[in-house]
Amino acid sequence: MILIDILKKDRGGQIFLAVLLVTTVTVACLNLAVPESSVWHVSTYTVTLLGKYLTYALLAVAVDLVWGYLGILSLGHSAFFALGGYAMGMYLMRQIGDRGVYGNANLPDFMVFLNWHELPWFWYGFDMFWFAALMVVLVPGILAFIFGWLAFRSQVTGVYLSIITQALTYALMLAFFRNEMGFGGNNGLTDFKDILGFDLQADSTRIGLFVASAIALALGYLACRYIVNSRLGRVAVAIRDAEDRTRFIGYRVDHVKLWIFTFSAVLAGVAGALYVPQVGIINPGEFSPLNSIELVVWVAVGGRATLYGAVLGAIAVNYGKTYFTAALPDLWLFALGALFILVTVLLPRGIVGLLRRREATQ
């Protein structure tokens, strides 16, 4: 019932969710049920790649919610993504147990290597999945809440806000690079064995993670769509278009921004948590400011303030990246830069805007 309500006027969303459902089911069946010798078989490598794209898509939806609808250009969203990823990575590290290189059941390999003798306090609890899952939501959420509370209360907006989000993710990157932080330094966390008792290398686990990513993306999309359709969503757009006016008609602009920003950070954290077991590593590189900027490019390419455009952009650009970095590795960064300029100049509404215009002329 609620589902019909949310999607009633959202044709793009209906198409997107239908495509997502069909793709997920087809890919899962073609991987598990079709023998490897058949041409129709989808390799596990492809499944994992698609799963990775889906987590990127969820991250892009989170950015579109704050950028497209609320007008906050966050250039630090990969920080929340990476924090969610680290929380999941810590759980996966603890699952290794005594199967690590040093065979120490109590300490992850990198701590043994650094000559540490006991587990730091902030690693406590991460051997339990429920605790890690809670942290995936809480850590990015609380960071976004504190950051947002300070920034929005003092009415920092526009370019200045973008710059401090960038500084936030850069500071976190530098901190996580340090070995003393206890997160594995520049090597990050890797060499994961299993999740919830399932072998991470097994096809069935890979499919499970892929399906979980698809479900998370669908739920995240629906939650964002619900917010956007609500009066709160209209207030958000009002803030984007005329912030002072919104304040004068009695809305607490700082509170609205804070809650939506925090929710978006939580979504990014969940995306990061699903990303890590599929790619098998999380390191401080994920905090890199460049990642956050690339992320904004995905949303711009897909089309801002549409949500499904963000999904489209994330998948299209990342497919391009996978293809180009393999075929013409030197050209990728130029291609990305050119893409951003072309989209800004020629397609201010992204791919979705192009499709809509074509539809309108027909």
Binding site: S230, A242, I249
Partner: protein, 277 residues
């Protein structure tokens, strides 16, 4: 010596320390004395320039007051002080008997019942006319209630009534960005009405309007007075003459003259200020 006096005053027997005084528990407006807005001895300066200088102004409940004055007389600054955008250096600003506006935030002032229309029409361009009014509607504007808000039949009636008053009933589904300049001004007045304000502050409502639109606006504003108190800041003398019952002339941050349009126009000081000797 002055400090000693200050100490004596603080500890005198009759003194009730400010933190002991009961704060009004709600933002309920009390206009039992017939005056809705008090500005007393208000001064504010920007970088040494006194924008407002010992201003005293009283607005009666239900009246339509026009405020005129040459450029730089402090009209907009006065509006900023009332709505909490600018804090005065000294003086007091009360809304009704009890509400001290200097202690409230901008959003709280708006919730207490003061609506403001800016000089430049600012409506939410990407929203429809209907949505603009919906957003402005009086009600619980905290985050969670807003997320789950549903329009009731009563509220829809209220919006339609406002659409009727501002004459935009046919355009309710249009996006506000596509309206004409005059229509945007009316929509903004409509948005003010949706907040059920006790006091409306309207900054230059007819700037850039055609004569026809001006007449419509004059009608609209006079129809609002009575139920609401309306303060209009305007440059256009013809327009002021067509709506004003009482006019206040501001000059260099304080009140120069007050009275009916005829009285004010025949006041020698006003003529000097406007015509320069």
């Amino acid at each position: 010596m002055r400090q000693l006096e200050h100490v004596r005053e603080t500890f005198s027997r009759g003194e009730v320390w400010s933190f002991m005084q009961p704060r009004p528990s709600s933002l309920e407006l009390d206009v039992t004395h017939g005056t809705i807005l008090y500005l007393e001895d208000v001064s504010v300066s920007f970088d040494g320039f006194k924008a407002i200088n010992n201003l005293n102004l009283y607005i009666d409940a239900g009246e339509l007051r026009c405020i005129i004055g040459p450029n730089g007389a402090g009209k907009t600054t006065m509006m900023d002080i009332i709505t909490g955008k600018t804090r005065p250096d000294s003086g007091s600003v009360y809304f009704g008997q009890l509400i001290n506006l200097l202690k409230l935030s901008e959003a709280e002032i708006s919730q207490a019942g003061i609506g403001r229309k800016f000089q430049k029409p600012t409506v939410f361009e990407h929203h429809t006319v209907f949505e603009n009014l919906e957003l402005a509607m009086d009600g619980d504007k905290r985050v969670w209630p807003t997320l789950f808000a549903k329009l009731t039949g009563e509220q829809i009636d209220q919006i339609e009534e406002a659409l009727e008053i501002i004459g935009l009933s046919e355009h309710l589904g249009k996006s506000a960005g596509s309206l004409s300049h005059g229509q945007k001004q009316w929509l903004e007045i409509g948005m003010l009405l949706m907040q059920n304000p006790h006091l409306l502050l309207i900054d230059e409502p007819v700037a850039g309007m055609t004569h026809q639109e001006m007449d419509r606006t004059a009608e609209l504003l006079t129809s609002l007075a009575g139920k609401h108190s309306v303060v209009v800041v305007e440059h256009d003398m013809d327009f002021v003459r067509s709506i004003a019952r009482k006019v206040t002339v501001l000059h260099q941050g304080s009140v120069l003259a007050e009275g009916s349009m005829d009285e004010v126009q025949n006041d020698q000081r006003v003529v000097e200020v406007y015509l320069g000797e």
